[in-house]
Symmetry: C2
Subunit: 215 residues, 2 copies
DNA sequence: GGATGTGAAGTCGTTCACAGCT
DNA sequence: AGCTGTGAACGACTTCACATCC
């Protein structure tokens, strides 16, 4: 057990491990080794052990890890053992998809609000897709609603040109976490955290790899 | 100019640089320094120069880089100077969003096919959103259609449980690039490339950071 | 003068290899 | 005997600092 800073990559992998552990648990497996976990998640066995070592000792030498215990420990470590309340800002195609996307979201994530500059325009689209009338709010109400509904995280799916302005409002509303789907580089004050989901960039990346290996 | 392997992170950043260069060009700027580029993209100036150094010398000492030239050089390096033909497999909420998502996709990406196991079920949804009847094909036709339409990249947006099966069909169709939006760990033979857009994982990551800093 | 290009130093993350438990 | 936990070796990427060139 250390107090060292935990690499970002470690957290990403812990998240992957939990998914696999959940599967194992559903299959009734009780024990798993670092080697097995590593293979399933495409990493080195020592890496698995190192990742866990940042947070304590979870295994039994000569045996492995108890699936259920490790699963629960990891969920606790990652903060997935409590509810996180999300708002989606920018109800275009992507925002709409996310609103309807509950299947992909783990149970501990709850979408509690949706914002768009043109509520009246987008409300129809969401309604027809969700099968019930949806409530879309104007971003000017962010601060008020954030407090009222205890929003933890803002997901930004506006056009890139609007993203920084929205981010400023999010900060103003004191929502500390931002998941940014736009390619814009958001600037936020210390204490706020932005994570980017650059799938455009990842696509570019894929293209580079494809292109550079046909030599 | 070196023949060393280029770090993945470098490619990601080059992609970011191109976006900023495009902006500069539109604003009529002709020259940019590594310091300016670095600031806009949130990295170290030396990093910018190192990234570029993998591919040659693009700047003029004492001056900086010509915006237009660098933009075009980077596009060429990344392989963005030709058309890439995409197929989307799995026309649920996310797949539908991507189909309607042309605004986010650069001009050189073209969606040329959409697949789903239940074409008749999803076709209505896409049609009404796109404003014109859409053609949704059954994945069994992947191989045939891939050849015919020269599909370069498959974007997988099926439920996680179907992802590996679909990936096998993609490989069978000899589509070399896969952009995987599911949390499944896809196994493909050597020569095929998978890139993951784990936004679920990134969300977990954000939660960890939020949770661990409130101490 | 001033900004690039780059070896060298530094930092961070991964893998090895083995001691330590069960 | 077997698998974890971990210091040490390794490797990869980043940052520094300065020589180089316009």
């Amino acid at each position: 057990m250390k107090a060292t800073k935990v690499p970002e990559a470690t957290i990403r992998r812990l998240s992957t491990y939990t998914r696999y552990l959940k599967e194992l648990e559903e299959q009734g497996e009780t024990v798993v080794s670092s080697a097995q976990l590593a293979k399933a998640c495409g990493v080195n066995p020592a890496q698995v052990r190192k990742d866990l070592a940042y947070f304590g000792e979870f295994g039994i030498r000569g045996v492995g890890y108890y699936v259920k215990d490790l699963y629960e420990d990891l969920r606790r470590i990652l903060g997935l053992n409590r509810e996180w309340r999300l708002a989606i800002i920018g109800i275009g195609n992507l925002g709409t998809a996310l609103l309807n996307f509950k299947d992909f979201l783990k149970e501990n994530y709850k979408i509690v609000a949706a914002f768009d500059i043109k509520p009246e325009v987008v409300v129809g689209r969401v309604a027809e897709k969700a099968g019930k009338p949806a409530e879309i709010l104007h971003p000017d109400r962010l601060k008020e609603v954030a407090k009222e509904r205890k929003i933890d995280i803002a997901i930004i799916t506006t056009p890139p040109s609007e993203a920084q302005k929205v981010a400023d409002q999010v900060v103003e509303a004191n929502i500390r976490g931002i998941l940014n789907f736009t390619p814009a580089q958001l600037k936020v004050p210390r204490g706020f955290i932005v994570k980017n989901v650059y799938f455009t960039t990842i696509l570019d990346n894929l293209v580079y790899l494809l292109q550079s290996r046909r030599r």
